[in-house]
Structure formats: C-alpha cells, structure tokens
Symmetry: C2
Subunit: 650 residues, 2 copies
C-alpha cells in the first residue's frame, strides 16, 4: 500500500470562455485567469478592495480570504473575489459579465457601479445557440426531420421537453438539407434552474443552416417617454458592441404619457403612436447595425424596458384605462411577441420581450432598474428613485419591495420654467454665489454663453440662493438685499443669472419666484412620495442603508444641493449611488442571464404599489414639503441647522 501523495497539479475550467488551465494547487485564481487569457476586471489591481473581480465557483474548492466586499449571501451562493482566492482542487469557475464587461461602455453610465450592479448571476443568455450535426436519414433511421432535430438536441445539447415554433417547422426541411444536416438552433430557455412546479420548457425559436454560433446578437432597448436608448449586445461575449439613442418619435404627439394616452383616443391614434415609436426603434437598429457591421438576421431578440404606457402603446394595447381611476394596466406580464409583427425590421423569428410591469405608473422600466441595480439581491434597506416628469420610488430589499409613483411635473426637464431648457449646450448647470457681493458664478454645459437653465442647474441655483439667504425657506426673494440682480420682472420678483451681453439669446436670463415655486412643487411631490411610502411600510426616510439615484437626469444632479432644497432625504452622502440608465442596464443584464430574467418576473410580483394620487396622507405630506427644505425641521436636521445659523447671521 502506498500513501496518496498530494496532487501536484489542478485544472481550472473557466466558463463561459470554455478555457482550461492547469496550475499548482494554491495558485491565485485571478493570476490563473490572466494566464489563461480570461479577462477578469480588477480595478484595485488585485488587492481585494474594489470587489470587481467576483466570480462564481461552480465546482471544486478554493481558499478565500473574506473582505467586506463579499456579503454573506454572496459567499453562500459560491461567489468569491478571484484575487482573494487560492485554488485547492480541480475547479470550474464562472466569470460573470459584470466582471468582464468592457468598462469603457459601462462606466459611461455607472458611477460607483461595483456597488450596485446585480451580482451572482450566471452568464447564460435566455437565447442560446446550439449547433447540431445530425446523421442523414436512411431507410433504417427514417425519423421525421423534427424528430431527428429533437433527438440531436437531446443527445448533443442536453435539451429535452422542447417546444418548437411553427415558423421553425415551416422551414425545417429546407434548412436541414441546405446545411447538409448541420444546423444551428436558437432556443429560448427562461428558467435555468426550474423551481418546483415551474412548467416552462425550452422553446426552439429559430434554425439556421450550418454553424452560425459565432453570430449571436440581441438588442437591449429602453423606451422612455422622451428618449429611446438601444444597445447591440454580443451574446457570445457578454459585450455591448454598439450604442445609440434617439428622441421617441411620439414626442410630436404630446410631451408626457397623459397627452399620449389622450391622443390614442382619436381614431387611428393608437396605431399612429405605435408606428411612431417603431420608426424610432428601426432608426436606432439601423444605426447600431451600421456601427457594428452586424446583420439584422443575426439578432435573435429584443429586450424592452419601458413604462407601462410606452409598453402598451408599443404592443398596440389600448392605454385608456391607465389614466382613468382606478388606473388599470392591461397586464403585468406580456407574452413575448414577434418583433416584425409590430413592424420592427428584424428577421421573422426574432421575439420582443417586455419587462413585466407593477402598475399603471410603475412600469417595466422600474422593474428593469431594480434588477439592474440588484436591489432584489441584498438585505440592505434600499431607496431607489428614478427622477423625471414621473418620479418612481422603490423602497425595499431582497425580502420585500414597496413602490409608488409621483407626478412631479416637467420642472426637472426645464418645463414650466421661464428660461428652462433641456440639458444641452449653453444650459446653466453649475451655480455658486458670492455671499458678500451676491454675484453669481455660472458654468454652462459645453462652456458656451448661457442659453437657459436645465433641471440640475435649477436645483443648484435654488440651493445656492437659499444658502445665501437670497430666497427664504418659502421660496420668496429677500427683497431688501443690496443687489441689482434681484428685481421685479414680468412674472414677479426674479434674480438675474446672466445679463443680456453674456447670453446666447441676447436677453437677460433670470430665475423667478414662479420658477422656484414650480421647482418646489416638483420636489415636494417627490419627497412627499418618499415619505408617504416609507410611512406606509413603517419606516422613516432617514433609515435607508443606500439610496440609488437612477435615470439620466438623476446622474447629473448634485446630491448635496438636492438635499438642501428637500428633494432627496437627508442621508449621509456616501449612501447615495448614481446608477444612470438603470432600465437599459437591466435590459442588458437580463439579455445575458436567464437568472435575472426569472428575477424580473418575481420582482414585479413582489412589489406592492401604493397609489398616491388619491391618498390623503400624501396630500398632507405634499403641503408640508412645499417649503425649503421642509416645514418639519426634523426631516432635514442638518440643513435646517445650517439655514437657522444663516438666519441668525443675517
């Protein structure tokens, strides 16, 4: 008998790259990956402080030094920081897309991303391409074409209990023979780990002759009321390969969802709006294909995140009851439809998936955002806010979620503000004021002469004027101050931000009491929403472990100033995280992982919607919030203390 000598070498298999490397036991996993040519992102250089090199240990043993970047839940799921792990036995390791994505693309939208992106999912796109080589039929083996294909999928791809689209049956005979019995099959698997009682099964959506696995793409789309953003995804590499955005072609039919819904009541109105957004989508697709040199026929599906109205109009579903009390959407979950049945220029078998919705005013965009941010994965009490004309709020964690929508009005997008403009060249974005001279210092987008005020600028100006005592907590100007910048304008009192010679318009640009009043209404609606929703679930606005600010507009606001005017709750600044277009992020990540696609449906069902529009508590909170920052100083103790000092000083 001989004693077992310790094993001299261990093998690591990296997925989805399907790459092996043999190393000595004890080798650092990150180093092993680099040696194997597997690109794992480690922004801190492998010292364990950034938490971006997380991988999923599928099989085998590693020894890991725990850091605070790895939660208990993650550890239990098998997630490890590659840089902190040493390989002990033969192992199989998944490198999730978040740890491998080209950061150049991601970082554009995600400041502080490593904290808030969904983690722990496997790179398994819902749409998968399987290549099969079938034995040609003979008199002895004369199964039908479909039986032969299914047998091949069972034997070569381990797929069973498959359903098949009729469109595939239609072209099956020709494709199999054209490819000399070699074919690539696109399957949809919406549940990787079917839960008990889960009856979903793989579905064959398409078939192509020969081996086309290399060409495997999808689209992620965020359809906003104003803007449509699209990304072309490489499903083999978990990579964004092109990006484009355009105004939603429906803008000509009304600025907000209510006017769009009204337009749908005209004869042919719904059809017209549907066509308008489809035209926009087709333009974006055209641009993405041009950028990437990918062909439309290789795009397998589209994942769409949109609010409830945008989703229903895109699908041609009457949105009328969304705006009539008690505000009922047609469905929370819409079955996938063929993209080209809606007029989208893709091949016949490409499906369009929409995110499930929660309610008429909490749509698939919010579900996608929550999924993208991974709110559903953490025990941390999270405040998630998407600020816009309609502001949506989600409070919760992996156990529960409550949501509400508040109609803030268009002030944040420059609407209802005399000199308001959208965020573009010449928009006043940053503002400070000399406390002695009361002269302003401005910064515009693009550094050009001022043209107007954008939403984030408006917040900064109001906060600056408030802190300098130029306006009071009621939003009214202090008319006794020794500056010619405060004057009586056509709309009442105003503060001149830029004199005519300094502007692009050749006219003075000012902010008036009416403008400030509009901003106060908008921020009061958002804050009252947050307060009402928090109270409904028995917590206070100061108890959030993290606050995620989503949306393009949200990414540009100065958190501190937003707290000063009472738009955001007064939390320590380091609890705030910008996540940018989280809807698009969610659409992208679910295109990469069936785990997250499953989560989306679960999350939509889990969210409890609180209808604020006819809620008495909300109305009271709204009135109380119509002050800078708030009538109740306990809601904003620090800001209130600062402002109180100011009052004493003056």
């Amino acid at each position: 008998m001989t004693k077992d000598s310790p094993k001299k070498k261990v093998k690591i298999h990296f997925n989805p790259d399907n790459v092996d490397i043999v190393v000595k036991p004890g080798e650092n996993l990150l180093q092993a990956a680099i040696a194997a040519g597997v690109h794992i992102y480690a922004s801190c250089g492998g010292v364990g402080t950034c938490g971006t090199c997380k991988v999923l240990l599928e099989k085998g043993q590693v020894e890991t030094t725990r850091t605070d970047k790895l939660s208990d839940e993650e550890y239990e799921q098998g997630i490890r920081q590659a840089c902190q792990s040493r390989v002990i036995t033969d192992s199989t390791v998944y490198v999730p897309v978040e740890s491998r994505l080209e950061r150049a693309v991601l970082s554009r939208e995600q400041k502080g991303i490593s904290e808030v992106v969904a983690t722990g999912w496997r790179f398994r796109p819902p749409l998968n391409k399987c290549y099969v080589e079938l034995p040609p039929p003979t008199l002895e083996d004369n199964a039908s074409d479909l039986s032969r294909l299914l047998r091949g999928l069972r034997q070569q791809c381990k797929l069973s209990n498959i359903s098949v689209d009729f469109g595939v049956v239609m072209k099956l005979a020709k494709i199999l023979r054209d490819g000399d019995w070699k074919a690539t099959v696109t399957t949809l698997v919406t549940a990787v780990k079917p839960r008990a009682g889960d009856r979903r099964r793989p579905r064959v959506l398409d078939i192509e002759a020969g081996d086309t696995r290399e060409r495997h793409y999808s689209l992620a789309l965020d359809i906003g009321t104003t803007t449509v953003c699209g990304q072309l995804l490489d499903l083999n590499r978990g990579k964004v390969i092109a990006e484009n955005l355009a105004y939603n072609g429906q803008i000509g039919y009304g600025q907000d969802v209510i006017t769009r819904i009204n337009y749908c009541q005209q004869p042919g109105g719904l059809k017209k709006l549907q066509q308008a957004v489809v035209t926009t989508i087709n333009e974006i697709i055209g641009e993405l294909l041009k950028q990437s040199q990918v062909e439309a026929e290789h795009i397998g599906h589209i994942m769409v995140a949109g609010n409830t109205t945008m989703t229903q109009i895109l699908l041609g579903l009457e949105p009328k009851y969304i705006r009539l009390a008690p505000y009922i959407p047609v469905a929370n979950y819409f079955p996938p439809v063929r993209a080209n049945s809606l007029g989208i220029n893709l091949q016949k078998q490409a499906y369009l998936f929409t995110f499930p919705t929660v309610a008429s005013y909490v749509g698939g965009d919010i579900v996608a955002g929550v999924i993208g941010a991974g709110v559903h994965q953490r025990k941390k009490l999270t405040f998630f806010m998407d600020i816009g004309t309609n502001g949506e709020i989600v409070i919760g964690n992996s156990e529960w979620m409550a949501t509400a929508s508040c109609s803030a009005g268009p002030a944040f997008e420059g609407g209802g503000i005399k000199h308001g403009i959208v965020a573009s060249d010449g928009a006043i974005e940053e503002f400070s004021i000399n406390p002695t001279t009361l002269e302003p210092e401005l910064k515009t987008i693009g550094g050009t002469k001022a043209k107007g005020i954008c939403g984030s600028g408006l917040i900064n100006i109001a906060a600056g004027l408030l802190e300098a005592g130029v306006i009071g907590q009621n939003g009214k100007f202090n008319r006794d101050l020794p500056t010619r910048r405060i004057r009586q304008g056509t709309d009442g009192y105003e503060y001149v931000l830029a004199w005519a010679p300094e502007t692009q318009t050749g006219k003075d640009i000012a902010i008036s009491e009416v403008d400030i009043d509009n901003l106060m209404r908008a921020k009061a609606a958002m804050y009252a929403g947050c307060q009402t929703l928090s109270k409904s679930v028995g917590i206070s606005c100061s108890s959030f472990d993290q606050a995620i600010i989503a949306g393009a507009f949200g990414s540009n606001i100065d958190i501190e100033k937003a707290i000063t005017i009472g738009l955001l709750p007064e939390l320590p600044l380091n609890r705030f995280i910008y996540i940018g277009n989280s809807s698009l992020l969610g659409a992208r990540l679910t295109s990469f992982s069936t785990d997250l696609l499953d989560d989306a449906r679960r999350v939509a069902q889990m969210m409890t919607n609180f209808e604020l529009s006819e809620n008495a508590d909300f109305m009271n909170n709204y009135i109380a919030a119509s002050f800078l920052p708030h009538t109740n100083t306990k809601e904003f103790p620090k800001v209130s203390k600062r402002l109180a000092k100011l009052v004493k000083k003056t």
Copy 2:
C-alpha cells in the same frame, strides 16, 4: 354513546350533467340515472348483455355484478355497467359520451360499434369554456386586467399556471368592460391528468363578454386525398349537430398523393394545393353552419385527421421529401396553428389541431382511426386495415403497435378496370352466378340498369367467378365452359356481366383477365403487407383476436368474398368488424376528451413503422399472393379446401 345507524340515503352526482339525486343505498345505478334525468344508453334494456351503459365511477362505492362485457382493465379504471351496479355510498359518476351520444348519428357509420369504439374516456373537451364574474377594480384592488382575470380563473374555475395568448391580451380591456366584468374564457387543457414530468399547462385561447358557455362548438375534419368529411360538434352535449362532405378540391391537380407532391414542385404549386383544400374546408364549414344555424364565431377549434401529405400541404409544409427515399415527413407532431392563418373562415382565435403522424405513408388519419377504434385500449391482438389506393395496416394492442403502408393502386376505387366506376348509381355491387347455366345475377347501387363495376362489386365478381370455376386460381378464364358469356374481347378473354340492352351505356359490360389481374395485384399488395408486417413482429395472420376494417370502401366489402380472393386473412367471420370512417370518428372523440388527445400523441410515438417499398420479404410475399387466394394453401386452408373440391367436381 350511540351506535352509528346505517346511512339512510346516499347522494349520486352525475357528471358532466352536474346533476344530483338522492336515493336509498342499494339502488340500481341505471335506474337512479333515469330518475335524475340523465340519459344513459342501454340497448339491452338493462340486463347487462349489451355493455353500452358503461359509466366511470369517480368517487364512492358501488357493488357491481361482473359480466363479460367489462374487461379487467376497464374494471380497474373504475368503469362499471350502470345496469349491473348498486350504489353503496355517496358517489360521483361520469357518463361518457359513448354512453350518451345520439345513436342515430353514430350508427350511420358504425356497424358493430359498441365493440370497437374507444371507451373509458371522460367527457372533457380539450377546449373548455369557463365563466367568471370578476369584482370591478377599485383603488384598493387595482390589479391589472389580466391579473384580475387569472385570479378569477384560479378562484372560480380552479385553473392555475395558465398561459395566455397575446390575442386575448389585445382585446382583454375592452371585453372585460363590455361585459361589465363578466366574461367567458376559452381554455385549452391538453392534459387532464398530467403525468409526471408533463409540463403542459392550461392556455387561454379566447375571451368573450358575458356568459357564452351555451355556444360552444368545434369541427372534426377528415381530409382524405379524395374526400373531405366534416362534422360540427356541440361541445356541451358531446353531439354531432351537422355533417357534410365534399370532394377534396385538390383532385383537379392529381388523383393520388404522389401526383399532388409532384405538383407542389411547380412554382406556386404548394400554395395552390393548400388553397384548394382550404376552399373545400370553407365550403364544408359554410354548409355545416347553414344546417345548424350556428355562427362561425362560436367554433373554438378544428381537429383534423389526414394522411401525412394532406396534413403537410394543408399546413403549407413542403411535401417533397415524403416521396423521395428514405421518405421523411417534416414532423410527427405539428403544433396547433390559427385556422385563419391558413385561410380558413373562422374567428381569429380558433386553432387548428392535426393528428400526429407516424411516417410519410402512415399519417394522422391512421392514428385517429386507431384511437377512434380504441385499439390502444385493449389487450386483444388487433388487425386494423384501412383499404384504399394506399392501404394502411396496423397490428397490435394496448402494449405495442406495428404499422405499414402498401400501395394497392386504384383498382379498389374502379381505377385501371375497363368498366370500373366509383361506387354510385348503376355500379354493379352484388354478383352471383348460377353454377349450372353460368348466368350471372347482378344487383346495382340504386337498383338501376348497370353502368359499371365498383370496387366492392369487383371483389364479389372475382370471388363468384372463382367459386364457380369460371376463372382459375391464376385468374385466367376457363375457356372450355359452355357459355357465350366467356369470349375474346379487345383486352383478351372476358366474361360479359350485362348485355348492351340491360346497361345504361348501351354497350356490353364485361370483366376481363386484365381487370382481374389488376385486382390481384391490389389484393396481393395488401395481403403481402399484412403478412410481412405480421412476420416482422413474429406472429401469423391467423392469430388476430379481431380485425377492424376501416374506411368508406372497407365498409362496403363482403368480408367472406374478400377472404375468398385472398384480400383479407382467413379468420372466423365474427372477428371482423366494420368501423367506417374511423379517422373522422377519432377526430370527433378527441374533440370530446383530452384523455384521447393525449392518447393520440402517445399512440403515434408507440407505432413502429415498417417500410415495405424496398423490403425483399415483401416482394416475395407479393409474388406468392398473386394467386387466388394464395400460392400457399396453408394461408387460406378453408378456401383452398373448397376450391380443391370444386376442381375435383369439374
């Protein structure tokens, strides 16, 4: 403490009527049903000898006297003869459609039906109508329309894990409000008792405002190469309410499947043939609706039985590879398609289901036939034969089935026979011959003057001539007989059946050696098929417990004469059963019961197809069978003995 006194009354609940009756324990179940107004058919008057009053005991206990009309399997399944059962405890009893159908309709096609129709299935149409009354939405209960509907279906109809057609989502908002939150939902449930691992689930196919349960119809269609037969079914009552048939509009493009497949190779050919049969289907539907005063919008689905070529052409699937070796159909199972996507004039949500196929020449018509005849339900070794241009044979029982198709040629339909005509007025159907004078005695269809010879007449004539020694076992005329009826005609020797003055054509009608030769080829192909298939599974043609003769032509042949010429195997006559159009029967019964629909798929998978066209054994058997009745006297001992006596006598 008191002793339990024996229960004084028991309650019987009858399904699907949903009727209760309270009776004394020990009451006869048939009598109880009659008292409850539930019509159970009992042709023997309730003495237990006919076996037509079978019911399914779902719950409770009855005491049953067993008769030979109830098999062990049936007994284990809970089937009882109502007339032989006494109720012991509270019970729930299903009255299957076969025990309640209007016999007037059934009996037209089914001689000896009670023996061979599928039994033991529950009356549960795959398409079901559920009525729900939903609470209107409020601010507190503001679930989406679809969630509300699904909740209603769960609570009121016990349906869960439902999928929903997008077409239903499209009209949902309007329908629910039009019907004031009362609606009728059409669901498809393809598995009543899901088996382990079965992942099918109810699917909502349609929704109508208000309560429309009363109007619930479907169509059963048998699409033959020559004829299309349709029945309109009342799914509430399990009843045929109208019936119609028409020639398949494809006839103009070729008589048999091979010429049709060839036609499909022309540009636009497939589309043309598809449209031709769809036009025929639409004509039949129009006629059925006219007869019944039912409206098209209340027809929920169509169940189609057709051979593989007819099925593929109807669905628009290239049939080319059916006729090229190794004879491959596109699929064995075709997903349901929207009837109106094929051009069929039904409402948008109506689906068309096709029977699964076994092989290129053993199609859904045969699967439907086997299901209709209940071959799959019995342990009896069964021989099932559908005689036509293509004759299909099935051998087997509930445990296994083997099948083959043999190309008999057109002789049985009057083709290739000089005076051959289809079975219609004036066709010589019966024939006998005076053994002394050798003068014939004829009977024509309709009793008119003779016009020609139909298929069944041809068999009878050949048998009569053989038994009278007018022709020999090689099919050649005995030229020495003292009758002027045997003469040299233009095609060689012939026997004059009717002289010119006795015919509609004004010309002599005769049968020639060439005609007899054609018949011999046809019958040799059928018999050789039977022999080859039997041998392949290790049994002999004389061991069948029952022989089911299907098809319109089959119903008209004289079994004894068919044995005499060697078309059918020499079994005791009482083992033969005519079943008529078993494909249409199968299509109808599966429209009534998901149990049978499930069975159809199982049976198609269970059947092993033997390809005869390039089988050496088949060719040998064919040559051996090209004799009257057969070169091997052991195959037909009784006929051979009779003919041997004849030879001695002459």
